[in-house]
């Protein structure tokens, strides 16, 4: 996947999600000179989360650029760069700081291919560190995926594992469509012994994965909530439930078939995500799964989500985030007696 020179310079074997993301950008930049990384503090500093660490040094400041502090300007400039044939990878410093770029995103990025009848696709990857659990002060822990999911033209991807962080980011950068690449902040330092030297052949964008097989009910989740769901599934064994866990990996496209297949088999489902419930992605998933699995369902599809409130301050976030107990309580409400 990488050239000989690239291999020679390759950083040490990544162990964390953060390192896998860095490596994905690095490999993409080494392979394709049109890939440009840009954003606030991404150059000299390597980003506030250090995800772009080393890229400016290896590829120069023109390939990994510290921009002025203006998100609409960053994304708008990236649109122009993509119009000229580059593949910009934009870093938004935190979820809530992507909002200033919303008009550029909705009115241009998402629509450009369509409004030009395919003449002008925009292969832009927009990396957005999202979600909570890291003790961030207000505006640093939003789960903003509902906005992106409701915007036709955007692909919305979110990895939950180190392997996927690499594979999905590579796939996103390679995509000819604009991709919102949501990085679960609190998994940045999660580890695995995956090695990029032999990248596992991960399925591309649009394919969900059953991360744990089970027969009692299906937990449908993504991103930061995957580890929580897996933990819940383990804990559920004590209650006698054998839970299946599906990791969506991309919210758009939404891999209905994998989910529907699972739910038809288990007959019960809970959607779990950190974003607020009301009008959140879980609503779409529940509605659609119900539509396609209606006669297989023993109980309505339930949701465990963040509360419908502004993201709480650090000391209270633990009460807000979907945790193992809340998931198990919800599984218990899946009408087992009927």
């Amino acid at each position: 996947m990488t050239t000989a020179t690239a291999k020679a310079k390759a950083p040490a074997k990544p162990a964390t999600m953060a390192q896998a993301l860095t490596r994905a950008m690095r490999d993409a930049m080494a392979e394709d000179p049109t890939v440009h990384v840009m954003g606030e503090d991404v150059g000299t500093l390597g980003g506030v989360f250090r995800i772009t660490d080393g890229l400016a040094k290896e590829f120069g400041e023109e390939r990994c650029t510290d921009t002025p502090l203006a998100e609409a300007g960053i994304l708008g400039a990236a649109v122009g760069m993509a119009m000229y044939g580059l593949r910009p990878v934009v870093e938004m410093q935190f979820d809530a700081f992507a909002y200033p770029a919303f008009e550029q995103l909705i009115s241009h990025v998402a629509k450009m291919r369509n409004r030009t009848r395919g003449a002008m696709p925009l292969p832009i990857t927009i990396r957005v560190p999202y979600g909570g659990g890291i003790g961030g002060v207000e505006h640093h822990s939003d789960s903003s995926e509902a906005y992106y999911v409701a915007t036709p033209g955007l692909t919305v991807v979110t990895p939950a594992t180190v392997e996927d962080a690499y594979g999905l980011l590579r796939a996103s950068i390679a995509s000819d469509d604009p991709v919102i690449f949501l990085e679960p902040k609190r998994l940045y330092w999660s580890k695995s012994d995956w090695s990029p030297q032999a990248p596992a052949r991960v399925p591309g964008i649009g394919k969900a994965l059953v991360r744990r097989s089970g027969t009692s009910a299906t937990l449908i989740t993504y991103g930061p909530s995957l580890p929580v769901c897996l933990e819940a599934a383990e804990a559920a064994r004590e209650e006698g439930w054998d839970l299946e866990v599906v990791d969506l990996r991309s919210l758009v496209p939404f891999d209905e078939d994998t989910v529907v297949e699972s739910v038809r088999r288990t007959g019960r489902a809970v959607v779990v995500h950190e974003a607020g419930g009301f009008g959140g992605p879980g609503a779409e998933i529940a509605a659609r799964v119900t539509e396609r699995c209606f006669h297989h369902l023993e109980a309505p599809v339930l949701r465990v989500t963040g509360f419908d409130i502004p993201y709480p301050p650090p000391m209270l976030e633990k009460y807000h985030l979907p945790g193992v107990d809340r998931i198990l309580d919800t599984v218990a409400r899946l009408q087992w007696e009927n």
Binding site: P68, G73, L86, Q104, R113, R115
Partner: protein, 376 residues
């Protein structure tokens, strides 16, 4: 760190502060207090007759194009048309100063600039007719899609120019925006990025006095809009936007500067929107006739026509020839717009993504079934 530990503690109280100097000299960035003019001044002695004949031809065509497009709205052939009557000198000059490889970033009002750059008028008007959004392939003539969300096209121009420069290509981007559009955050961010990156961009602000009903006085308190440039570290230029010779000269200079690696320029063209905001607008609600009449007397076509006739560069015959050419263009446009556009409802689902999602395939199938049922 406490005061006691500070390294300078105990030194004389006349210590020198860390070195300071302004990053650039502000003086050359500031616009002249009067809009630059050529026509009717001594500078007109230096005019290039051939270029001015070309400008004249384009201005006459441009005026006719405006009249024809407005007529098409009355016939229901166009949904809406924002006219550039009175602003033709800006539109034409913007198109003429660019080389083939350069890019034009028009606002929703600037179909005439696109047409003057060579775009087929029917394609230019597709958006306003309503059969599709962008009626042309932007890469073909290097004309970005007409931008309806105000000022949003400006950062695109900066990004594109920057990309071309990184690639070592000789490309300049010229971006157009209105006086109202300068109030948007995107204007600010684009100007700043352009200056920091020294991108080869020219910003052309057509100050036509109004943003729909809102006059400049409610839009900005700046001495001139051109004064905004200095705050970004780029030169600001003030030009009579109805003087095509002045516009051509100032724009050319800015394009040359950008091409030579001298960075961006912002130009305020002082002009006037003679007609209503669009055919759907009622301008009598917010302005009086006197102002409009004063500006009609300073008409861009007339200004050039007078100059060229006075100098013997243009005569009755020349005027007749250009008017006839304009009539022909108008006839072709009329004809083109009279043909009903070919519509395929299934286009709705094309090009949303490179590859259709399952959900879109399903929706497309549903529409197809509905259409087939309707056909039966």
């Amino acid at each position: 760190m406490t005061v006691q530990e500070l390294p300078g503690a105990g030194a004389s109280h006349r210590s020198t502060p860390p070195p300071w100097r302004p990053r650039t000299d502000a003086a050359p960035l500031l616009p002249d207090p009067e809009p630059y003019r050529v026509l009717g001044t001594e500078a007109a002695d230096r005019l290039d007759p051939a270029l001015m004949r070309r400008c004249y031809a384009e201005l006459v065509r441009g005026r006719r194009y405006n009249a024809q497009a407005t007529a098409l709205t009355r016939q229901g052939r166009l949904a809406v048309y924002p006219s550039t009557v009175g602003q033709e000198a800006c539109e034409i000059a913007a198109a003429l100063v660019l080389e083939e490889q350069d890019w034009l970033f028009p606002s929703y009002r600037d179909t005439l600039a696109a047409v003057a750059r060579g775009l087929d008028p029917v394609q230019a008007l597709t958006l306003l007719r309503g059969d599709w959004h962008t009626g042309y392939d932007p890469r073909e003539l290097r004309i970005a899609p007409l931008s309806t969300p105000l000022a949003t096209q400006l950062p695109h121009a900066v990004g594109l120019a920057h990309a071309a420069r990184l690639r070592g290509d000789d490309v300049v981007a010229l971006a157009m925006v209105g006086d109202g559009g300068t109030s948007e955050g995107d204007f600010h961010e684009a100007m700043n990025f352009a200056a920091v990156w020294q991108a080869p961009v020219v910003f052309l602000v057509q100050n036509n006095g109004f943003a729909i009903s809102v006059p400049l006085a409610k839009q900005s308190a700046a001495p001139t809009l051109a004064h905004k440039a200095v705050g970004y570290g780029m030169p600001g230029r003030l030009v009579d936007g109805n003087d095509v010779a002045a516009m051509h000269e100032v724009l050319s200079e800015a394009v040359r500067r950008a091409r030579a690696g001298g960075g961006p320029t912002m130009i305020e063209a002082v002009t006037y929107r003679i007609e209503a905001h669009t055919n759907a607008d009622d301008a009598t609600r917010y302005r009086g006739d006197a102002e409009v009449e004063a500006w009609k007397a300073h008409d861009p076509v007339l200004l050039l026509e007078r100059e060229l006739t006075a100098r013997g560069i243009l005569d009755e015959e020349g005027i007749r020839v250009e008017r006839e050419a304009a009539e022909e263009m108008a006839a072709t446009l009329r004809e083109g717009m009279n043909a009903d556009p070919v519509l395929d409802p299934m286009d709705l689902f094309a090009h949303v993504y490179a590859e259709q999602t399952g959900r879109l395939r399903e929706q497309a199938a549903m529409l197809r079934a509905e259409l087939e049922a309707g056909d039966e």
